[in-house]
Amino acid sequence: MILLNTMMPGQVVLEYSYLLSAIMFVIGLKLQSHPETARKGNLWAATGMILPMITTLLLNRDEAGEAIGLMNVFAILLIIAAGAVVGSIMARKVKMTAMPQMVSFFNATGGAASAAVALIEYNKNPDQALLVGLLGLVVGSIAFSGSMIAYGKLDGKVGDIFSKVMTYVNLFFMAVIVALILVVLLAGLDAQTRTYLVYGLLVISLVYGVSFVMPIGGADMPVVISLLNSLTGIAAAMAGFIYQNEAMILGGILVGAAGTILTLQMCKAMNRSLINVIVGAFGGGGVSNAQAQGSIKEITLSDAAVLLSYSQKVVIIPGYGLAVAQAQHIAHELDNLLGSKGVDVRYAIHPVAGRMPGHMNVLLAEADVPYEQLVEMDNINPDMPNVDVAIVVGANDVVNPAAYDDPGSPIYGMPIINAHLAKNIIIMKRGMGKGYAGIENFLFFNDKTRMLFGDAKSTMQKLVSEIKTI
């Protein structure tokens, strides 16, 4: 007790620095909900991170009241410097199209750190195997291996495994993990056996992370990334629980909540339940009986140029195909050019356009499109009947009217951008391939629709030069 008294002032400062840090996280996230203040918010959060790092380094004491030794301080600074340099270089070099991979990768490192911390804490006090410690280990490991697989998939290094068997494999792993946790906590085993089981838990969690993400792919990626993001937050919070550290608990839970909200929003935007995404059964159910009516009609570049130049309202509907073709810059050139002719040009953004939530907005922002011009689906849809031309670039399922008309379609009920209500529709597309969901798009056969086949980037370039000649 005497020992405790002598170190009180430092401990109080340390504890309250954690509170201050938690407050900064909250303020930071709050500010990040508006484009004007978002950058400031990020700075608040970063400051909220650096502050407790410094106070912990200076003031932390272990149970025996020992401060962090000089050697250790040196080691810590060295490791942090190395991590900071590597991390910032990676963050500076990454292309905006590769942002989902980058976020997945950083997510993986966070998960791994949580798992490692939980593992050491278990080793320090094997007698006090706590539920939170085990959860930190399990969730952190799943977040790590799952995020690495997601990273590999987004980077095109890992393929998908679609198989009904995976569903049962995953359920089996989940059951084993829960059973192991219960045994370790409640069975009263000797320390040796328990330690083996804890390492077994680590291995199974890592494997489960892989098998959980493997079958999920394509358009479901935004859901998975959000979900993994939320898991990393929870893992950090669990580790924070071990240390009774408020900044870690609050920070972790905030991230968990953010990830959960985004996950649910993405699911809603695809009209699917979270279970449905995880189990990975796309379509499957009803049989589509509708047949495409009408025929495909093409439009020449010069006709398209005239049509656009004499329109009043044009809406560009970008999909991931636009990002793949790196056509966001030329799209902005097109909207500038039309804007100079007095045409009102806006972009309609579907919530799941791109490979992570909000990805399309980032890509267009990179091309200097002002964010005021980016309109969310729910806000643009009521105005679609007044739109003279809707240009669909590299998007497919998110404009498929089958979502309204065809109860047998796998995407029936999914909210879409109402391109079919516009007065004219121009679709830029490589060829007649089907979208991710592999279903026919009736919009292509609509009487008001004209197709412009070819690579999105070069087609738009030609379109821009064509419009300039008018």
Binding site: Q32, M49, G83, G87, M99, M102, P357, G358
Partner: protein
């Protein structure tokens, strides 16, 4: 049952913080426009690197080889998460500055 009761009693404060943080998190984040979803996610991702404090504590009091190795690894990973996350978020948000329409 008894162990559950003692767990709930001993960790009352932490449990309170967790439950209230969940509400706070949903409250703070639920109104983010979809324009900002990607930066929000990478910003939140950087915050989950708060595990870095655990890494500092671990390396700070590391004595065994395992503690040194795993602790250093955890600290390095967490730093990647924090530094990379905040830098990449800043890069994205920089693009969302208000621009004059040409």
């Amino acid at each position: 049952m008894e162990s559950l009761l003692s767990f709930l009693t001993a960790n009352k404060d932490a449990i309170f913080i967790i439950v209230l943080s969940v509400f706070l998190g949903f409250e703070v984040i639920s109104n983010v426009p979809s324009v900002l979803h990607t930066p929000l996610m990478s910003g939140a991702n950087a915050i989950s690197g708060v595990i870095i404090i655990g890494g500092i504590i671990l390396v700070g009091h590391a004595s065994t080889t395992l503690e040194w190795v795993l602790g250093s690894l955890a600290l390095f990973m967490a730093t990647l998460n924090v530094a990379g996350g905040f830098v990449v978020t800043d890069r994205m948000l920089e693009m969302f500055k208000k621009k004059k329409k040409a």
